[in-house]
């Protein structure tokens, strides 16, 4: 089934604020098997010049999951056939414990590639104070039957 092209260019309202915690960063670092002390030890992070523990480069995916851009049933995407196609992060600075962030997403592209459908969402992750932490570019592929 084709994904609804009417969604191309649509921007969704900012998500509810998400508070980045030390515990969540440590849990994520444990899950990816990365022992880096800057993800766990606030003193080590301060010694390295950061105000608190920082998050691994791929951590912002946690914050951007549950994207309202993908939640509308009118979009017509079959998630059981979805695989991740591409992912990119462009960082202004590392995300860190204590950041309270919102995501504002835009569907920038929907197109067919052979039997597959491809959808790209761009998301600005900003603090509630308005500082841009990173932009994410997420491309999903719905595999054709």
């Amino acid at each position: 089934m084709a994904i609804n092209r009417d969604f191309i260019g649509r921007t969704f309202p900012p998500t509810e604020p998400y508070e980045v915690s030390r515990v969540k960063i440590r849990e994520f670092a444990d899950a990816i098997g990365d022992p880096n002390p800057l993800y766990r030890d606030a003193e080590a992070a301060k010694a390295a010049g950061y105000p608190d523990v920082i998050a691994p480069p791929t951590f912002p995916i946690v914050v951007s999951l549950g994207n309202p851009a993908l939640a509308d049933p009118e979009l017509g995407i079959n998630f059981s056939m979805v695989v991740h196609g591409e992912q990119r992060f462009a960082y202004t600075r590392p995300m860190r414990a204590g950041d309270v962030v919102t995501c504002t997403s835009t569907i920038t592209e929907i197109k067919s590639i052979g039997n597959n459908e491809k959808l790209t969402v761009e998301t600005d992750i900003k603090t509630v104070e308005g500082e841009l932490i990173c932009k994410t570019y997420n491309t999903l592929v719905e595999r054709g039957a």
């Binding site: 899950a31 098997g33 993800y39 480069p57 995916i61 695989v83 991740h84 591409e86 990119r88 590392p94």
Partner: protein, 141 residues
Amino acid sequence: MTAQVKYADVEVGTEIPERTFKIDRANLVMYAGASGDFNPIHWRESFAKAVGLPDVIAHGMYTMAQAGRFVTDWAGDPGAVVDYGVRFSAPVVVPDDGGATLQISGKVEEKLDDNKVVVALTARAADQKVLTRAKAVVRLA
């Protein structure tokens, strides 16, 4: 903090030695919990096969995280990564018995201004390239 690797010490073509990362089902269950991505293709074999996959596959973001660690361990400061993107070119199949092995290597592809370099990454599992167009821009010391 700044990176440990000095801009002046790398050239276009400087290679970052290959590292190997093991992936088993327990890693994927932990990653599902920590990331919030509970798609059953990453932990339920019957579901993965029912939707046409050979077996349970790793989250693309799990593979991307391993390649990210490869870069941050090299640079010495995760905050030195200013841009990081990949294309998931083939799934990493993770059998219940034995899991999967990911081999990651890198090469400095370009030197930019402001002490930044582009690192091109290669990631393979079961003799297949699982990431393509995988690049990190890192600000070196």
